[in-house]
Amino acid sequence: MTDSAPAISATGLKVHFKTARGLVRAVDGVDLEIAQGAFHGIVGESGCGKTTLARAVVGLQNATEGKVSILGRDRAEWQSADRKDFARTVQFIFQDPLGSMSRRQTVAQTLAEPLQIHGLGNAAARAARIQELLSLVALPESVLDRLPRSLSGGQRQRVSIARALALNPKILVCDEPLSALDVSVRAQIVNLFAKLREQLGLTIVIVAHDLAIVREVCTDVTVMYLGKIAEQGVARALFDAPAHPYSQALLSAVPSPNPRIEKNRPRVLLTGDPPSPLNPPKGCRFSTRCPVAIDRCHFEEPALKTAPHGGQAACHLVDATTRPVLETQAA
């Protein structure tokens, strides 16, 4: 482990599932590097492989091919050599906090369990740590005796964040931690993540489909389409001038809560749904829906290369100085 090593790096990562209907290429060749201290958003539509990618990164999902390193150390090797040590470094937060907690354990038991398993401290030290965790995630002490089902959605998500923080990890990987929450509570949890990252120097990877939130809090972003990275880069730069036609369409689809902006802004309306990952299109996977596709796109798969915003995009029409700009229509 070195200080300068990326928090997470994946090379040639593939996760394929054999199903009755054929091979699903959920993640199909992903190269990804996430620096220490980053707040990295992975975005894309359902079926693009973002959750599978996140699970494969932490080893909750076996990779079919490729390699993942965490802080410079091979993840598979690390996990088989010392699983507990790995767990003290990387923690995962699930989309559904209720499903990821034992329904029969009180919050106190849920938070104590990782400390016990890792043999950290005596009873008094553990109780003190639990107090510390509660205050980190801003939960009142009164929740300790309660069962998950008697908590609100936001409280449950705070408990699962507290549990993930119990072992003082360096990296937090979160799968849609906000989707199940109400709007006003979502903001509370987003702010909590931002605060924790600063306070504890965490690296946070968040799988999300709320692009407005990703734009607010993430430092870097990866846009996925059908098992591949379409585009990646520094969040602000990418969101200001997305290079990949898919990213442009995806970002254009986000409505503004301000009706004066929303009712007048021109937009890109894609036709059709994303194709099935069972049978991805030949060539560029976005070519079937891409309004600017050229012949080459239909048979040659584009590789990631430098885009004008300094990140990378997988599009034949993009290079370091140019990007295609999709035509928009009036609202």
Partner: protein
């Protein structure tokens, strides 16, 4: 102003399960006119779905409900109707789009005949006419190759296509009111944009009254003409969509909107949050229900329940249930 297509007055809905009772909707009034989209905004548990689907008898099974008040369509009160009467009115005058298309479509039947049956029953289109009507509805809702899709089962269609098929089903009876309960929540961003555009287009063409139930402020801003904001079963703010979204008055509306980041004009300050949680509706305190979370709270707020008061002159009536903000900011008309 024209007569409303659907008018609800002082609606109260109590829900009972064997162990608890909840006043889910507590004295709500609203109306919706032809050609108008009314958005009902609120978080989970605010009563927005119960308020809208309750009078139609569409609440989930296993929950006993007790409705009081008036929900009037064509001068007839839905609240006082027998189940049979309600069933005929519901099919004829109301089309409903749900969050999950599979709650409206029968998975065992082909899509087209389900739509044709609805058209035959309520829009007097018999036999071949019903089929022709169904195919044209599928085409109208943007389903490619509608002749072929007519004979498909729901599981053979993608999520976005199913959502369109459900909209076709809702339109088959030629309803006057379209109720859309979180129509885009389960959809991907690019498909969401398509469905919002479709609803807008259909409304324009048919002059439907649309009631949009959602917590997605983006969808509201894209579609709504008017907004009512619901908190713990009560309306806290009611007004023209542009006014409410760009210049909210009730402290809850202000908090709710501030917690929604705007992708189109991001700010450095980040999403602001409302502290605390919505109240537990099984044991409600007197006074304003937002009081425990409100930054402007005064002693009187905890004692007396605020009523909706008109503010501003202007052509668009605006109502807010917060005496504090109205007094402090001198907003009473």
């Amino acid at each position: 102003m024209s007569t409303p297509v659907y008018a609800v007055e002082n609606l109260v809905i109590d829900l009972y399960t064997p162990t608890i009772s909840v006043r889910a909707v507590d004295g709500v009034s609203f109306e919706v006119h032809a050609g108008e989209t009314l958005a009902v905004v609120g978080e989970s548990g605010s009563g927005k779905t119960v308020m809208t689907l309750g009078p139609l008898g569409l609440l989930p099974e296993g929950v006993a409900d007790d409705l009081k008040g008036i929900a009037k369509v064509d001068g007839r009160n839905l609240v006082e109707m027998s189940a049979a009467e309600l069933s005929s009115i519901r099919g004829k005058d109301f089309g409903v789009i749900f969050q999950d298309p599979m709650s409206a479509l029968n998975p065992m039947l082909k899509i087209g005949p389900q739509i044709a049956e609805q058209a035959a029953r309520y829009a007097n289109a018999g036999g071949e006419n019903a089929k022709r009507e169904a195919v044209s509805l599928l085409a109208r809702t943007g389903i490619p190759d509608p002749q072929d899709r007519y004979d498909r089962y729901p599981h053979e269609l993608s999520g976005g296509m199913l959502q369109r098929a459900m909209i076709a089903l809702a339109l088959a009876s030629k309803p006057r009111v379209l109720i859309a309960d979180e129509p885009t929540t389960a959809l991907d961003a690019t498909v969401q944009a398509q469905i919002l555009a479709l609803i807008r287009q259909i409304q324009k063409e048919d002059g439907l009254a649309v009631v949009l139930i959602t917590h997605d402020i983006g969808a509201v801003s894209a579609l709504a003409d008017r907004i009512i904001v619901l908190y713990a079963g009560q309306i806290v703010e009611d007004g023209n969509a542009d006014d409410v979204l760009t210049n909210p008055v009730h402290p809850y509306t202000r908090g709710l909107l501030a917690s929604v980041p705007d992708f189109r004009s991001p700010t450095a300050s980040g999403a602001r949050e409302i502290p605390g949680l919505p109240p537990n509706q099984t044991k409600l305190e007197p006074g304003c229900r937002f009081a425990p979370r409100c930054a402007l709270v005064q002693d009187k707020c905890r004692v007396k329940r605020p009523t909706l008061e008109h503010i501003g002159g202007g052509e668009h009536p605006r109502m807010v249930a917060c005496p504090v903000v109205l007094t402090v900011e001198g907003l009473r008309s």
